[in-house]
């Protein structure tokens, strides 16, 4: 009976394998996989779960800090939800939601100017000190303290003009303005007041004194895990805190192994040293198609809100790029289908816009990208960049100014030089000379911040709220954000300012749709492809959720992962895609 069920299951899986192949061909989106067992949610019956198991994760590099106020890298964020509890979390769809393990109730006033949060009673820090409203107020003060380098946490929290503890369970927030984004503004991290307040008297930065550093590296958190080992350059070990009052996570131990190289990580995965890793497109398409990998795990592809783009320096010294017609022409000469196929192994889809579908009222059939060299040539001719009879390159109005630009790339990326090679070849046909400059990350950023570049190739992951795009497109962000290209459009500015105040979701979507259209018309950026999440999981891992930021950076994330108690025997005949568990 049991075996018959397994047989059926395996048939289903084989169908899924076919599904994946089809999906790769037609670039279907959504969690497609050969193995639904990975997504099986944590069962209510705890006896099915192996609660003593150890999970092994891969870390690309080491985190900078475990103090959530100071955290700012994607690596840091992997630890955020494991070590710390927050009243509000990003769920698997990156929607703002209330963490029921912490919050009794949350109410926002009708005028969006005020909110009240009631904490559950009996919340504790990992040293058994009660977690109260005072901790929240303290954290808010620290984040807004100019001496604290709260790079990420400060974003949004600045909108909270007042945060006060009404009683130990109840906090009242008062906002500067009635904004649609106010609910994000109350989602800031909470640190233990009783630990940091004494430290802050001598070290208000929270990271200068030895005591602060120790507190940041061995934090007293509020989440279900605590740090028990940190071997420099090698691994970080988290162990379950049994006193946690919320839902108990399945793994007793999580070992994060530092493996910087992608090829080495995949070998470690196949050797069973790690249970999960993100895959490069090539690894997903080619390296993992063998038996070696299939014996060890499955690969998953899911939608991600990441777009690869080229930013054109609109306001720079190059007259060539300041002309909208020229940028349009450059956009038309991007051979997205070839880039998809050659660079991203058909796994990425062509970029369709700047926002994810759910944020805008975009028509699902709307196509944004066309490859049209002849059209591009005509646009360039119209703009006065004519092909010279002498050497075949384009010059402005027959003068000396040659049509061309330098594309900045980040050193170490395997994909961006490949994208650049394809673009360069097509632009040559057009008589436009593109050269590339590979810059190391720090220098790449420095050039961007100083607006000293012609064009750069980069990727952008959309935040959970469309208003975060203000940082790329609003004129305020030219000097004070990431609008490195110097894009100025008063209409876009006005729409952003309207969008952030509009509380009706449908009307908001209309506004962002309009913004998107305006930006695609002006083309300060040329969007290339949309990158999916590509991930490998060991056969024993269950309970994974894929958020538009990948499986790790949303709630419950790793907290919801589990592994079954009884190792399932492998039937050789049914091996394909059948989950099996390693000996615990």
């Amino acid at each position: 009976m049991c075996s018959a069920r397994k047989r059926m299951k395996s048939k289903l899986r084989i169908m899924h394998v076919v599904g994946v192949l089809l999906a790769v061909v037609d670039s279907g989106i959504g969690p497609v996989s050969a193995a639904d067992h990975v997504f099986e949610p944590i069962p209510a019956n705890r006896s099915m779960i192996d609660e003593g198991a150890t999970l092994r994760c891969r870390l690309r590099s080491e985190p900078s800090s475990f103090n959530p106020v100071l955290m700012f890298t994607a690596i840091d964020a992997q630890f955020d939800y494991l070590l710390w509890d927050r009243p509000f979390v990003l769920d698997e769809n990156l929607k703002w939601s209330i963490n029921s393990a912490v919050v009794e109730s949350f109410e926002c006033s009708d005028d969006h100017r005020e909110a009240t949060l009631v904490l559950k009673s009996g919340l504790r820090w990992q040293d058994d000190t009660p977690l109260t409203a005072a901790d929240i107020v303290f954290s808010w003060q620290r984040i807004l303290d100019d001496q604290v380098l709260a790079r990420k946490a400060r974003h949004g929290t600045e909108q909270v003009s007042k945060c006060e503890a009404v009683n130990p369970q109840r906090v009242r927030f008062i906002f500067k303005e009635a904004l649609a984004t106010n609910q994000w503004s109350v989602d800031f991290p909470i640190v233990p007041k009783h630990i940091y307040e004494p430290l802050c008297t001598s070290d208000p930065t929270m990271q200068r004194s030895d005591a602060s550093v120790r507190a940041n590296r061995q934090p007293i958190g509020s989440g279900p895990y605590r740090v028990t080992e940190w071997a420099s350059g090698e691994r970080i070990v988290l162990s379950r805190w049994e006193g946690y009052s919320g839902p108990k996570p399945a793994f007793a131990k999580i070992i994060f192994k530092v493996i910087p190289d992608n090829n080495a990580a995949l070998l470690a995965f196949e050797a069973g040293d790690i249970d999960e890793m993100s895959l490069a497109p090539r690894q997903f398409a080619e390296d993992t198609s063998g038996k070696q990998f299939a014996d060890r795990g499955v690969k998953i592809r899911g939608k991600q809100w990441t777009n690869y783009y080229i930013g054109w320096n609109v306001a720079g010294s190059k007259a060539f790029l300041s002309d909208t017609r020229v940028r349009k022409a450059l956009g038309l000469s991007v051979n997205r289908p070839l880039i998809r196929k050659r660079v991203f192994h058909g796994l990425f889809s062509e970029s369709r816009g700047i926002f994810p579908e759910s944020f805008t009222a975009r028509d699902a059939n709307e196509s944004t990208s066309v490859f049209d060299i002849a059209g591009a040539a005509k646009l360039l001719d119209d703009a006065g960049w004519k092909v010279s009879d002498d050497d075949g390159w384009r010059y402005r109005d027959g003068g000396k100014e040659k049509a061309g630009f330098v594309l900045n790339l980040v050193a170490g990326s395997q994909t961006s030089p490949r994208v650049a090679d394809i673009l360069r070849a097509d632009l040559r046909k057009l008589g436009v000379e593109m050269t590339t400059q590979t810059l190391e990350w720090s220098v790449f950023n420095e050039r961007n911040l100083a607006h000293q570049f012609d064009a750069y190739l980069s990727a952008w992951t959309c935040g959970p709220d469309p208003d975060e795009a203000r940082n790329l497109f609003h004129s305020n962000a030219v000097e004070n954000g990431r609008n490195y290209v110097g894009y100025l459009n008063p209409e876009v500015d006005a729409l952003f300012d309207r969008g952030v105040r509009e509380t009706d979701p449908a009307k908001r979507a209309q506004i962002y749709h309009k913004i998107e259209q305006l930006i695609l018309t002006d083309e300060p950026y040329t969007f290339l492809v949309e990158a999916p999440t590509l991930w490998a999981f060991g056969h024993r891992v269950r309970g994974v959720t894929l958020s538009p930021r990948g499986p790790l950076h949303a709630f419950p994330g790793v907290r919801g992962w589990w592994t079954p108690r009884i190792p399932q025997p492998i039937d050789d005949e049914l091996r394909t895609g059948l989950p099996h568990t390693d000996a615990p």
Partner: protein, 349 residues
């Protein structure tokens, strides 16, 4: 960066001790020690100036991740203030010197840890690996080279030399990848990732040692083979030259046994040039190899320096510079002193 004298005319890195024999060996030593001071200051000063003038800064090196939505001029200014980037280089150097004078190398920009702690964690593995590799290399090189020299021109000699050239011309990362794929994955003899097993802390002393050795075998082999490939022909040639010297001929002529001549006369005179070479090789090996350490996820010094440079972690970079300068100058000094002491013309002056 090594330079070694097969050619006897190539001088030792510093003044020829022979010039000082009138004043005795102690005078020479003193002068030799004093000479390292300006070099040390020069290294530190030059590194400080270059890293601070090099493009990029810690404020831009750490932009990225999901914190990007928080990129703002205000944040950037606060970062610059935090990393003390606005002060002129001279002032920053002054501050740094004052701190170092009290043996405080500051805090790492990357994770806030004291620089000394961060470096020491990484120095141990590298130091141990380097010295064990050098010992192993010598244990391999001397007998092999001696055999080749004593049978010069023979088939085995040619095979040894051919193998050395062949090995030397293979880039270490190609060799490393092959090792991982063959020995690490296919044969599964040794782990190829990290320095310790995850249950290292629960092991007893002996098991820990075995664990460390297990994890260092593959990366060690990758560092070892170019060293051996380089040293064998060198020692062989030195020994051939010694074998031709008059005193060796004389020793043979006196009817001393072959074994006695080789061990008492040939080997000691072969090892002296080797000492000079080792003095130059040790620092090169100690610096670690970024490529290999990344490939083997091995927590060594090379990776730390590379990561620190990418993040513009000035305090760690400077700490590593001071440390490596001390080691390089220290080793050269020791080699020179040993050389001077071993040279009878200096010793009996």
């Amino acid at each position: 960066m090594t330079s070694c004298g097969l050619d006897c005319r190539t001088p030792t890195p510093h003044d020829n001790p022979l010039q000082h024999r009138q004043n005795g060996v102690w005078h020479y030593l003193l002068k030799r020690i004093l000479l390292t001071i300006p070099t040390f200051v020069g290294i530190v000063l030059l590194t400080f100036v270059v890293i601070h003038l090099a493009p990029g800064s810690p404020a831009t090196g750490t932009v990225g991740g999901f914190g990007e939505s928080g990129v703002s001029a205000a944040n950037h200014d606060r970062l610059r203030e935090h990393f003390e980037l606005d002060a002129p280089v001279t002032k920053r150097f002054g501050r740094w010197i004052m701190r170092v004078a009290c043996f405080d190398f500051g805090q790492s920009f990357a994770d806030g840890q004291p620089v000394s702690k961060r470096i020491i964690e990484r120095v141990y593995p590298t130091l141990i690996l380097t010295f064990s590799i050098i010992v192993i290399a010598l244990l391999i090189v001397i007998p092999v080279a001696a055999y080749a020299a004593l049978n010069a021109g023979g088939f085995v000699d040619k095979v040894i030399l051919g193998a050395c050239v062949g090995l030397y011309a293979i880039p270490p990362y190609v060799f490393g990848m092959l090792l991982i794929l063959v020995v690490g994955v296919a044969l599964d003899w040794f782990p190829f990732s990290g320095l310790t097993s995850e249950d290292h802390a629960q092991m007893n002393g002996w098991q820990r040692l075995v664990d460390l050795i297990n994890h260092s075998v593959l990366i060690g082999a990758c560092i070892l083979y170019p060293l051996v490939a380089y040293l064998v022909p060198f020692v062989r040639a030195t020994m051939l030259a010694v074998l031709k010297e008059d005193f060796v001929r004389a020793a043979f002529a006196r009817g001393l046994s072959r074994r006695r001549v080789i061990f008492r006369h040939v080997l000691p005179n072969t090892l002296r040039p080797l000492l000079t070479v080792m003095g130059l090789i040790v620092p090169a090996v100690l610096g670690g190899s970024v490529v290999l350490e990344v490939m083997f996820s091995w927590p060594g010094m090379g990776r730390l320096l590379y990561e620190s440079i990418l993040q513009r972690d000035y305090p760690v970079i400077m700490g590593m510079t001071v440390l490596s300068a001390v080691i390089v100058l220290g080793v050269t000094l020791i080699v020179d002193v040993l050389y001077a002491l071993a040279d009878p013309r200096v010793r009996y002056a």
